[in-house]
Each structure stands twice: as C-alpha cells, then as structure tokens.
C-alpha cells in the first residue's frame, strides 16, 4: 500500500454540495412560480387545465417550503457538517471505513426520501400539517436517516484528536438533538387502516394515510412548538454553526469573544423552545401560553444578537475585507440580516403588533428576510469557501460572485419591503370599520390593493433565483478552474477574475 499523508476526505461533503445546489434551484424556482401565481392567478393553469392539479398554488406550496427547508437547507447543513466536522475534530473520514460507509448511506437514503417527498407532494398525498406534510412511511424513513446522521456525528466525535468541541460542533449537535425530538413528537400519527369506527368497521383509507394523535388546540400547540422550532433548529442553529466556522476561517480572524459564543449558545437553547406559541396569539389556546411565547420571543433577541454581534465584531480592524472580498460580504450581510430578522420576529410576537401582523404578508416577508438574507447567503458563502478546498481549485470568478451578491441583495430588499407594505396595508384594511362596527373593506378590496406589491415580490424572488443560478454556474466552473497549492488555502479563498 502506498504511504500517502493523511488528508481530510470530502467525498460525502461533495455529494451533499451537489444536492444543495440542485434542491436550491428546484425550491427557489417553485417559489418564484408561486409568487407569480399569487400576482397573476392565470399562472395557476399555465400548462392547461388538464394538469392544473399539479401546477396550482396549493399543490406546489408545500413543495416549495419543504424543498427549501428539508432539501436546500438540510443538504447545506449536511455538506458543511461533513466538511467542518472533520476539520475542527482533526480527524479524517478516510480513517474509518465505517464512518465513510455511514456517510454515503446517509446521502443515498436521504436522496431516496427527497424523491419520495417530491412524488407524494405532487400527487397530493399529505398529512396537511404545515412543514410536516410527509405521510407515515416517509416519517419512518426520515427517522432512520436521522439516526444514521447521528451515528456519523458521534462516530466522528468518538475518534477525534481534538479534545474540546469547537462552538460550531455544539450547534450541529443541538441541530441533531433538537430536530430529532421535534420531528418525532409532532409526527405522532396512526395509519387510518388500523382504525376502527363505532360499529366495528375497519381498514379505512389508503395504506399510506394517517391521522395525527393530537386534536384541536393540543394539535395546534404541538404543531407550532414544532413549526417554530423547525425555524430554530433547522434555519438558525446550524446556520450559526456555519458562520462561527466559516467567517473566522475566511477572514483569518479569531472569534471576537469565544466566551460570548458559549453564553449565546446556552441562551438560545433555553429560550427558543418556548417561543412557538407566538404563532397562535389570539387563537383558542390558553392565554398564559400566548403571553409566555410573546415574552420568550422578546428575550430571544439577546442570544440571537449575542451571536450576530460576536460575528460582526470578529471583523474588527479588518473591515477592508468586506470591501475587497465578495465572500466576506455574503457572510457579513448574512449576519446583519440575522440581526434584522431576529429583531423583527420579536416585534411581530408582541400582542398588540400581532393584532395587525397575524395572517398577513408581513409574516411572509419576515420569513424571507431570514431565509433569503441569512440562511441562503450563509449556505452559499459556506459552499464558496468549501469549493476551493474540496476541488483544490480557485473559485472560477470573483466578479461573477460580486454580481451575484448585488443582484440577490436587491432581490431580498424588494422582497421584504414589498411584503412589509403589503402586510401592514392588509392588516389595517382588515381591521378598518365604520362608526357602527361594519367592516370598511371586503376581502377582494385588499387583493386589488396588494397586486402591485405581489408583482414586486415576484420580481424580487426572480432576482434571487437568477443570483442562485449564477452561484451554481460559478461552482460548476470552479471544478475546472486553475488548480491551487495547499498554501493558498490558509484563509481567504483564492478567486479568479
């Protein structure tokens, strides 16, 4: 056997990078189609009324949300885990045949689930719980894949050379544990074929169909405990893991305060889990649950800003890098959008603000400044940082990256500003009444007023998608760009013109 020096093995990271890009394109494309459907209802039947079932808003909407959350974002989390995990633990996956096998098994099983999700959602097979639409056979498969990922995480930790776990590792572990708990409890369900009715008949419905074990207000509370914490442990915690590794690494700057990172971690873990009830303010759940959710949402500003400010201060004395490197731009703007979004969320969770914001497009705007500005930017920045190290080639084009940055930033700004105006307009119009208490507007009045903002949103979404296609092209071309030396990869990523 030839005696080669030990190297990190990025085989599995690479597989998940490709999945991130493919699922990102699918998820964002469907999102843009949906935005145009809302602005121009004719788009719902654009391929003819024969296939309207597959092109209408309600059928495509879960495909958009699930492709982005469980496709694009989750693949990004897995890709960065298989990269960062090895590096901060200083152990290569090549050192363990078992871990390599588990990593590949993880990827292929995940892909099977992705395929079955796409097929079932398009066929209209769904539990109808938001962000938990998968039916029971897929839920069981998800649990299996999650366990495989867990074995892979703790297996790598088990053979590590570095005794302490870097802060990003804590966040990845929290992602694993948090989602495991949330997913299992919210998806407790009984297949209908096992049910029996009052007169002893059984075997109802298709074999894949199920009903939730929770009902009424309990179902709502469990659902939003899950739903909001999917945002916590899927769209926040693992993305913080990314920025704590990739920003210091790319800029060559040590984290401003490692102690603050520890403190923010425990703060986030403790506070986030209580905030889900803010989705149910002014609904039929106990008043104290609503108040508690509102209070915890406001407290959540502290740990969120703890991490975000820590990241911005990491750039202290090195702000010229923001001007010179588009990669740093993505991360610094990502961190800024994280601050922005974690201030906006608590404001919306205050009861009096929620009276206007609830059910309006402002909520959709809030979600998207977080997902487009924070999650999307951080995942793309992480992949940009990884690409030269994984492919051992410089990033194909720096100017293309800068172009992408500005196109997407414009897209995000158009998206959230249009949704702010639309949402607040909508909220005010719904509440407006005359001196006798008669509503001043009917629903269609709001639809007419909102049309221009829906169009602006669709344009914003299109710009973001265009940027993502530029990103995909840049990564694709990177695979055949100029080869680089190991010494070029210390900090700032090498980039072509």
């Amino acid at each position: 056997m030839e005696n080669r020096p030990l190297e990190y093995d990025y085989t599995v990271a690479k597989m998940f990078m490709f999945a991130t890009i493919a699922l990102g394109i699918v998820g964002m494309l469907v999102g843009v189609i949906l935005a145009f459907e809302l602005a121009f209802p004719g788009v719902n039947t654009i391929l003819g009324s024969g296939v309207a079932e597959y092109t209408n808003f309600s059928r495509l909407r879960p495909l958009h949300t699930d492709a982005i959350i469980f496709g694009f974002t989750l693949s990004g989390i897995f890709a960065t885990w298989y990269y960062v995990g090895q590096r901060v633990l200083k152990v290569s996956m090549a050192e363990s045949g078992l871990l390599m096998f588990l990593g590949k098994l993880h990827f292929w099983l995940y892909l099977v689930i992705v395929a079955s999700v796409v097929v079932t959602l398009l066929a209209g097979i769904t539990t109808s719980k938001e962000y938990a639409e998968f039916e029971w056979p897929i839920d069981i498969a998800v649990v299996i894949v999650w366990v495989v990922w867990g074995m892979s995480i703790f297996g790598l930790i088990g053979i590590r050379r570095e005794k302490s776990l870097y802060i990003s590792m804590w966040y990845y572990i929290a992602t694993f544990l948090g989602i495991a708990m949330l997913y299992v409890f919210n998806n407790m369900e009984i297949p209908t074929i096992l049910g029996t009715n009052g007169i002893g008949e059984s075997g109802f419905g298709d074999w894949w169909h199920s009903v939730s074990m929770y009902a009424g207000a309990n179902d709502a509370m469990v659902q939003w405990w899950y739903g909001h914490n999917a945002v916590a442990f899927g769209l926040t915690v693992p993305i913080v893991a990314m920025i704590y590794y990739f920003l210091p690494k790319e800029s060559g700057q040590a984290i401003y305060s490692y102690k603050l990172s520890l403190l923010s971690f425990w703060g986030l873990m403790f506070v986030y889990i209580w905030a889900g009830g803010h989705h149910l303010i002014y609904s039929t759940i106990p008043d104290w649950v609503q108040t508690m959710a509102s209070v915890f949402s406001v407290i959540l500003i502290l740990p969120s800003w703890g991490s975000a400010i820590n990241m911005l201060l990491t750039m202290k004395g090195e702000w010229q890098q923001v001007a010179s490197s588009p990669l740093i731009k993505f991360m610094v703007l990502g961190s800024t959008f994280y601050m922005f979004s974690t201030l906006e969320g608590p404001i919306q969770a205050i009861k009096s603000v929620n009276a206007i914001a609830h059910f309006t497009d402002w909520i959709v705007g809030h979600v998207h400044d977080g997902t487009l500005g924070w999650v999307g930017f951080m995942i793309m920045a992480s992949l940009f940082h990884m690409a030269p190290r994984v492919f051992k080639r410089e990033i194909y084009s720096k100017s293309l990256m800068a172009t992408q940055f500005w196109i997407q930033t414009l897209g995000v700004v158009l998206y959230f500003t249009s949704m702010w105006i639309a949402g607040i307009t909508q909220g005010m119009m719904w509440r407006a009444h005359d001196e006798f208490g008669n509503l001043a507007y009917s629903f269609i009045d709001t639809v007419t007023v909102l049309h221009p903002y829906y169009t602006i949103r669709a344009v914003g979404g299109t710009l973001y998608l265009v940027g993502f296609l530029l990103f995909s092209y840049n990564i694709y071309k990177t695979m055949s760009a100029r080869p680089v030396e190991e010494s070029e990869l210390q900090n700032a990523s090498p980039m072509g013109a």
């Binding site: 005794k163 210091p248 102690k259």
Partner: protein, 67 residues
Amino acid sequence: MGIAELQGYGYVALTSLLVLILYGYIYHLYTKKRDSDGHDYEEYSNMALRDDIDDAPVSAISDDKEK
C-alpha cells in the same frame, strides 16, 4: 393555597434560579477565564483557524492518555 398561587410561586422561584445560573455562568466565564484543563477560553478559536490535519490540537486527546 390554591394550585394557581403555587404555580405563581414556583414560576418566580424557577425564573430566579435560572437567572442566578445564567449570571453565575457569566461570572464564572469572565473571572476564571480558563476551563478546568487550564486553557483560556479564547484559545479555542484556534480550533477553526488552525484546522489542518497536521496542525497541533488546542488540547489533544492524546495528552489525556499520557497523564
């Protein structure tokens, strides 16, 4: 004393305890500055900055085995 009043006292006690733990942790971090292995917490940033496979770990597992 009814259950609601008990819940009230319990809530205050639990909140105070958690606040004490949090501030205790902050006090600990900023006065001790080092963990039980004697490493300054800020050294741990180097786990990301010096993460090549042949870089020396900040605190190596093998050190433990030698002890």
